[in-house]
């Protein structure tokens, strides 16, 4: 796809907006539709678009397959650690009210963190799948 000038220019314009929109969906999920799953998929789609247009080697310079696998594990680990923080602070598993002094703020923090974990895992798994498919070509 190296010679498709229109595709290269348009995707160069679109990719930053896709990534920005993914971050918006991620952190605005508390107030509007969206959340970790959708944001992760959109973020992954931005990477995949970059990989399709500019080649697998270019996108793997941005995020290597190993880093993607690490990110997938880290997202799940973040979710689990937020869950375990509850019992350590004397509450139930995945009870975010004790994370901060104010129960409502604790809920906000807990939800933001686990949504971040969900987004990281989903995005990294999607991009890893794309890497695995594309490398076999």
């Amino acid at each position: 796809m190296q010679h498709h000038v229109v595709l290269r220019v348009v995707s160069k314009l679109l990719i930053p907006m896709i990534l920005l929109f993914a971050l918006y969906v991620q952190f605005h999920g508390d107030y509007g539709p969206g959340g970790g799953f959708q944001a992760g998929v959109i973020f992954g789609a931005g990477f995949i678009l970059y990989g399709i247009v500019f080649g697998l080697d270019t996108v793997q310079q941005v995020m290597s397959p190993k880093a993607m696998r690490m990110l997938a594990a880290c997202g799940l680990l973040l979710y689990g650690l937020v869950g375990v923080a509850g019992p350590l602070l004397g509450a139930n598993f995945l009870d975010y009210r004790v994370l901060l002094d104010n129960p409502v703020s604790g809920q906000h923090l807990g939800i933001s963190l686990i949504e971040l974990g969900v987004g990281m895992t989903v995005a990294a798994v999607m991009v890893s799948l794309f890497y695995a498919f594309a490398r076999r070509r």
Partner: protein
């Protein structure tokens, strides 16, 4: 459209029809006021699945070699299961029925007290991430495990130099 997907020999067109169908399903979810689900359907069903199926087509071939003949017993089983599922939908409560069991169990409590307890305007996020956080942890684990499984099947652990050689 479903029959077209089932009978088409051009798999590229079938993948495109799948994507269109996902978008239509997303539109249906929007009319049912389930914007979060519609968002997921549009991004996962129409976006990523289409890309992954196209990637598979690039590895194999975009034409099905020969259409398998319809075998009687599997066809009858599929028709019977479909009929049973449609028959079961008659027992479901009507859409938006306030007396439906789903609206009388824990949903009123979530709707009435999530404002004070969690303080997030989007109740879907509150339920997904806090009240049902354990289920969401399970979902993320499923995605992670499924991804690892596919990577193992596709041999993603090959050193990249070998992959580069094979590409050339």
């Amino acid at each position: 459209m479903v029959f077209a997907v089932a009978t088409l020999q051009n798999l590229f067109a079938a993948v495109m029809l799948f994507g269109i169908m996902s978008f239509l399903a997303a539109a249906v979810f929007v009319t049912l006021d389930a914007v979060d689900v519609a968002f997921t359907e549009a991004s996962v069903g129409a976006g990523i699945s289409t890309i992954l199926m196209l990637a598979t087509l690039a590895l194999t071939s975009s034409r099905q070699r020969d259409l398998p003949k319809i075998k009687l017993v599997p066809f009858a089983a599929a028709v019977f299961t479909g009929w049973a599922l449609i028959y079961a939908t008659f027992d479901l409560p009507r859409v938006g029925d306030p007396q439906a069991p789903a609206h009388r169990h824990v949903a009123p409590r979530y709707l009435s007290s999530s404002g004070e307890e969690i303080g997030i305007p989007n109740v879907v996020t509150s339920v997904l991430a806090s009240y049902r956080g354990y289920d969401t942890l399970g979902e993320v684990t499923v995605i992670f495990t499924a991804g690892i499984g596919v990577l193992c099947l596709l041999g993603a652990n090959l050193p990249s130099s070998r992959g580069a050689k094979r590409r050339k």
